[in-house]
Amino acid sequence: MLHIVNKSPFQNDSFISCMAHAAESSTVLLIEDGVFAALKGSNVADHLSKAKVIALQSDVSARGIDANLAEGVELVDYAGFVDLVADNESVQSWV
C-alpha cells in the first residue's frame, strides 16, 4: 500500500499518524510540505525507519533541502510517483 503525506511534521500530526499506521511493507511518499519529514537530524527522523520512505524530488528541490536529507530516503520524479501508484493496490493520502 502507498501512503502519501503532504504536511510538514512540525506543524501537523499527519506524518506521525501515518507512520504509526503504515504496515512495514508499505511505502510512504512525501510530497509538498511533507518532504520536511525527510530532514536529517530532525526530531521526527526516528520515524523514517518504520517503512520505506520516498520523497518527491521536485518538492525537495523547491524547498532547498536536497543536501539535508536523511540517509536511506529515496527520491522520485513525477513519473516515479505515477509508478508508485500503479505498483500499489491502494493509495491513501494523509490530507
Partner: protein, 130 residues
C-alpha cells in the same frame, strides 16, 4: 492503467492543485488513462475562467483546460461544492437565477456520484488535498 484523481483545494492557496496537475500530466505521458478528475471542496475553484494571474506565474485554471482539450480529459466539478462557492455554468445559472457564468472551458458540473463512480471504475484513486 486507469487512474481517477480527486482535487480538494483551490489554485494558488495550496500546492495540491499543482501536484494533481503534474501527476495527471506524468501519468498521461506514461501512457496511462485518466478516467476522471473530480474537483471537490475549494478544488472547484480550479474551474473558474475569470482568474487573471500575473503573467510571470502559472495559470492553473487555463492549464487544466488546455490539458483537457489535448487529452479529452473529463474534468468534473462537484455541483454541491460549486453552488456553495459560486462556480456557475449555463444550467446552474438558469436553475438558480444567477446573472452570469464563470466555468472554464473543458470543465463540467455534475453530482458527487461521479466521484464514487470514478473510484469504482478506475484502478486507482489518488486524492490531492490539504
Amino acid at each position: 492503467m486507469k487512474f481517477s484523481i480527486q482535487v480538494n483545494e483551490g489554485p494558488y492557496q495550496h500546492q495540491s492543485a499543482d501536484s494533481a496537475y503534474n501527476f495527471v500530466k506524468a501519468a498521461l505521458e506514461k501512457g496511462h488513462e485518466i478516467f476522471r478528475v473530480f474537483f471537490y471542496h475549494d478544488g472547484v475553484n480550479n474551474g473558474t475562467r475569470l482568474a487573471s494571474p500575473p503573467q510571470d506565474d502559472r495559470n492553473v485554471q487555463q492549464r487544466w483546460s488546455d490539458l483537457a482539450k489535448e487529452h479529452e480529459l473529463d474534468l468534473v466539478i462537484c455541483v454541491a461544492a460549486a453552488q456553495r462557492r459560486g462556480i456557475v455554468d449555463d444550467g446552474e445559472a438558469e436553475r438558480n437565477g444567477k446573472d452570469a457564468t464563470n466555468i472554464m472551458d473543458g470543465f463540467r458540473i455534475s453530482g458527487l456520484g461521479q466521484l464514487i463512480e470514478a473510484g469504482i471504475q478506475a484502478d486507482r484513486l489518488v486524492v490531492f488535498g490539504d
